[in-house]
């Protein structure tokens, strides 16, 4: 069932060879081929624009009121590319190497190498579209560093890189809409795929405004629906981010890979109370200048500024001198948890650590004074100048922090804590981004492909755009070339009728439960189970309990959920119920996967498997594989293993010391 279809030949040549030999579709035939794209984030919008430009008939869907609002918009820090503009030793190989190592040797070499190869084209494409990246005074593009690397290869637009990239892709998409090549469906949610004779041939979508179900045919369907971090209830994802599209695909035969690989981001604003509806990220770029610390004394009660330097524990710098505050995310998150669990946490909840800019402010202030060639400048004035530099770099993030917490991070260190941020797992795809169902593709965060067990910062934007702009136009063509004789299937075909009926029945069932608990309260409970037992640290005992608890919660959901309103109207509670029902099922599979993987790697930390220093302990002999789960029946999965072969890189214990 699992064949990654990795082209033969040396790693460096695979993608070039593939492109040189894949099948093509001539322009006249492209017009007859219909492609459905679910999602208009970086992956979906770039795919829709590119396929529209090529001449395919594209239909694109998103659940927000405009494609421009996909959650890619929220990405802050930046996007990687192996341009080596800084002349600091970067190369395609090094980006490839860093990504494989950052992923703790659980990603495919061929995919990651391709990603690295096309990374440069992404920057060029975006610049041409008018993405206003940060620039130096000479007018050239600027770079910053990100975690897990020692070169500066991250391109950025202040703290709004995702916004600018998405606006670029959105505009390219709207251009295709204007040209009639893409038809856009806003406020639509895909609720099922339709398979005919072993191939995906369409979808069932619900118009969220009227509540009506619709059938849409496509010769191929691309799922670009983002991450499923909201299974934890609290995450840095948007409120609407969900697993529904890929979960439905999973139920219709698409294998789900490494579902338990979740990225917990070390620097987020901590939870302030039970009312909390989501968590806000403070970009990793802040770790370039911010220093992370906790008091050396347990149960410290003094304010941060009253704690003298020698009584602070800069624990990342202490434990990882080579990378210091810029260790990868999984490492930084676990280190924060370790300190808080040991009783050194700060703030009222004691579930937080400090991220401090005082040193950076002084350092930048002194540089400014130095530039002006002045002497005998007071410390106060240096601080004023330093704050200006910090504001230019991170102003919008500091503002966001202050709006949420009411505290001024220019004066007081930020309080931060890890939060669920990204899901490395997703639908299993082969080298062509095709799932285990023919004609069904998966791009962006929704697939599992490139980040192994831990994603490096600034690599998701790169992957989303690589998939959409540069990979799928070739690979979907290779499939569609054999479809030119397949006529569009009328949507009164029994498979469509049946699929629509199943969706309608499920919605009816949900509405008729008329129980006593709100969707939100059940979602919160799922989140708590997942965070406590399948979060930053996991163990076999806890995971087994979690599976039982989730099964019980599922029963409770289907017998006691309360959804107000009616079906044929705008009904956000019903939309949410549809999504939470899927999250519950996914939660179970995530625990099953985490329980199966008797090792620690990247973001997956099984407490039973750690080195004496508390680092993740991999078991390459037994677990160097992608776990692809095939659903057999409710709550019953078959595991397919895709072995990972490292031909070029030799896996070692990851070392950031």
């Amino acid at each position: 069932m699992i064949d990654a279809k990795i082209p033969a030949g040396p790693l460096d040549d695979k993608w070039t060879e593939y492109k040189g030999h894949c099948k093509l579709v001539n322009p006249a035939n492209k017009r007859k081929l219909e492609v459905i794209i679910i999602g208009t984030g970086l992956a979906g919008a770039s795919a829709a624009a590119s396929l529209g430009e090529l001449g395919y008939k594209v239909k694109a869907f998103c659940f927000q009121d405009s494609p421009r609002r996909a959650h890619s918009i929220a990405a802050q820090g930046g996007i990687n590319a192996a341009k080596n503009y800084q002349n600091d030793g970067d190369s395609v190989f090094r980006l490839f190497y860093d990504t494989i190592k950052g992923g703790d040797y659980r990603a495919r070499e061929a995919n990651v190498h391709r990603l690295s190869e096309v990374s440069s084209n992404i920057i060029d494409q975006c610049v041409a579209q008018g993405v206003p990246f940060a620039r130096e005074y000479g007018g050239l593009l600027s770079n910053r560093s990100f975690g897990g690397t020692q070169v500066q290869r991250t391109f950025y637009a202040a703290g709004q890189t995702g916004q600018q990239l998405l606006i670029g892709a959105y505009q390219a998409l709207e251009r295709q809409v204007a040209l009639g090549n893409v038809k856009m469906y806003n406020r639509h949610e895909m609720l099922d795929i339709v398979n005919i004779d072993g191939k995906t041939r369409g979808i069932i979508a619900r118009d969220l405004v009227s509540g009506k179900l619709e059938r849409h045919f496509g010769h191929a369907v691309l799922l670009c629906t983002g991450g499923y971090g909201n299974v934890f209830y609290l995450s840095t994802n948007a409120m609407g981010s969900n697993v529904t599209a890929i979960w439905k695909a999973h139920k219709k035969g698409a294998a789900f890979a490494n579902p338990c690989f979740t990225q917990i981001h070390p620097t987020c604003i901590p939870v302030s109370g039970d009312h909390q509806s989501k968590l806000t990220l403070m970009s990793e770029s802040l770790r370039n200048d911010g220093r992370i610390w906790v008091p050396q004394q347990k149960g410290e009660t003094r304010k941060a500024i009253d704690i003298p330097e020698e009584e602070r524990d800069y624990y990342l710098e202490r434990r990882y001198p080579a990378f210091g505050n810029l260790v990868p995310r999984d490492v930084a998150s676990r280190a924060a948890k370790e300190r808080c669990d040991a009783g050194f946490g700060v703030g009222t909840s004691k579930q937080a650590v400090y991220l401090d800019f005082a040193d950076a402010i002084l350092r930048y202030g002194k540089i400014e004074v130095g530039k002006e060639g002045r002497e005998n400048v007071s410390e106060e004035e240096i601080i004023v100048l330093g704050k200006e530099v910090v504001k230019e770099k991170y102003g919008n993030l500091f503002d966001m922090y202050e709006k949420i917490t009411g505290e001024n991070p220019y004066e007081l260190p930020m309080r931060i804590y890890p939060a669920v941020h990204y899901t490395m797992g997703g639908l299993w795809v082969d080298y062509e981004l095709q799932t285990t169902v023919k004609g069904l593709y998966c791009l962006g965060e929704a697939n599992f492909s490139d980040h192994g067990a831990n994603r490096l910062g600034a690599s998701a934007l790169m992957q989303g755009l690589a998939d959409g702009y540069f990979v799928i136009p070739y690979t979907v063509g290779n499939y569609l070339a054999d479809e030119i004789y397949s006529k569009a299937i009328p949507t009164d075909h029994p498979a469509f009728v049946e699929a629509e009926k199943a969706v309608a029945d499920r919605i009816d069932t949900l509405m008729n439960i008329k129980g006593s608990q709100s969707v939100e309260s059940l979602h919160k409970r799922l989140g708590k189970i997942m965070w406590d037992k399948c979060g930053m640290a996991r163990n076999a005992e806890g995971l087994k309990q979690a599976i039982e608890e989730i099964k019980a919660l599922k029963k409770e959901f289907w017998s006691d959920v309360k959804i107000p309103g009616i079906i044929n109207e705008y009904n956000p509670e019903l939309d949410k119920a549809n999504r939470v029902a899927d999250f519950i099922e996914l939660g179970e599979l995530m625990c099953v996967d985490a329980l199966n993987r008797n090792e620690s790697c990247g973001g997956h930390f099984r407490e039973e498997y750690q080195t004496p220093e508390g680092e993740a302990l991999r078991d390459d002999a037994n677990y160097m594989y992608v776990a692809a789960w095939e659903l057999k029946s409710e709550g019953n999965w078959e595991l397919h293993k895709e072995p990972l072969n490292y031909d070029v890189i030799k896996p070692t214990q990851r070392n950031y010391k």
Partner: protein
């Protein structure tokens, strides 16, 4: 920060759908923490309504961190509420006092029809972008990103305009329901870059024509848009737009 709890009266616009006339309905919420966000306060109200068997309030939101532009709400007469340079989802309850009454309405503009309660249809903005808010470059046609240096100040100014989140608060704030700030931000973003140069004239003409077609009002330079814009998009962009439009019209006449 001192935290406190408060009881509030909420006067909220209810409207079943686009054809319904709509009207205000009042609600009480208790023990709202000053640490909550404004939308979390509405979550509390909605949980309460669901338990009482009433229809919850429909409002748009997604990222809840001030960047997607999905949230709206006209709060006590101000789009996105009292705080400057802020979106509704970033507004926090410490902006309010115990015992206050808060009035919440949808954006009001004929080009933004109400869908339900506080939700409006802003697809007119997408159609304005479709009319020309892009640079026509197909995937794969790009030259090296550094082959064309761009003066940093221009790049920064372009970025400042490109920060617009397409929320529509400028329209809601304007007594004429003009979309000029939104439109000018896009025109400025692209006109300030060399890549935007070739389509400069047609872009502005087509986008303005589309704006008029959508039924947005004229701009009379009152500045209410700039004052409420959550991304503090400068009204000087409108001056630039007018200049661009004028030049484009002259070129078109030839």
């Amino acid at each position: 920060m001192e935290h406190y709890n408060m009881n509030l009266t909420l006067k909220i616009w209810r409207q079943k759908n686009k054809n319904d006339k709509g009207g205000f309905q009042s609600f009480q919420v208790k023990d709202i923490s000053s640490e909550m966000s404004f939308l979390e306060m509405l979550d509390v109200l909605n949980e309460q309504l669901i338990h009482e068997g009433q229809d919850p309030i429909a409002f748009d939101h997604d990222c809840r961190e001030g960047i997607c532009g999905m949230c709206s709400l006209y709060i006590n007469g101000k789009p996105h509420g009292e705080w400057k340079g802020n979106t509704t989802c970033q507004l926090h309850m410490r902006a309010f006092k115990d015992g206050e009454t808060i009035t919440i309405e949808p954006w009001r503009a004929s080009a933004f029809p109400v869908i339900k309660d506080l939700i409006v249809d802003r697809t007119s903005f997408d159609r304005i972008i479709q009319a020309g808010g892009y640079i026509s470059v197909n995937t794969g046609n790009a030259v090296d990103g550094n082959s064309l240096p761009i003066n940093k100040d221009r790049a920064d100014a372009s970025f400042a305009a490109a920060m617009c989140i397409g929320c529509g608060a400028c329209v809601a704030a304007c007594k004429n329901s003009s979309a000029m700030l939104f439109l000018s931000a896009k025109v400025a973003h692209l006109a300030l870059l060399p890549q935007g140069e070739p389509e400069r004239h047609s872009r502005v003409m087509n986008m303005v024509a589309q704006m008029d077609k959508e039924g947005f009002g004229a701009c009379t330079n009152t500045g209410a848009c700039e004052a409420t814009c959550p991304k503090e998009i400068s009204i000087s962009n409108i001056a630039r737009l007018n200049l661009e439009y004028l030049t484009a019209s002259i070129v078109a006449e030839k």
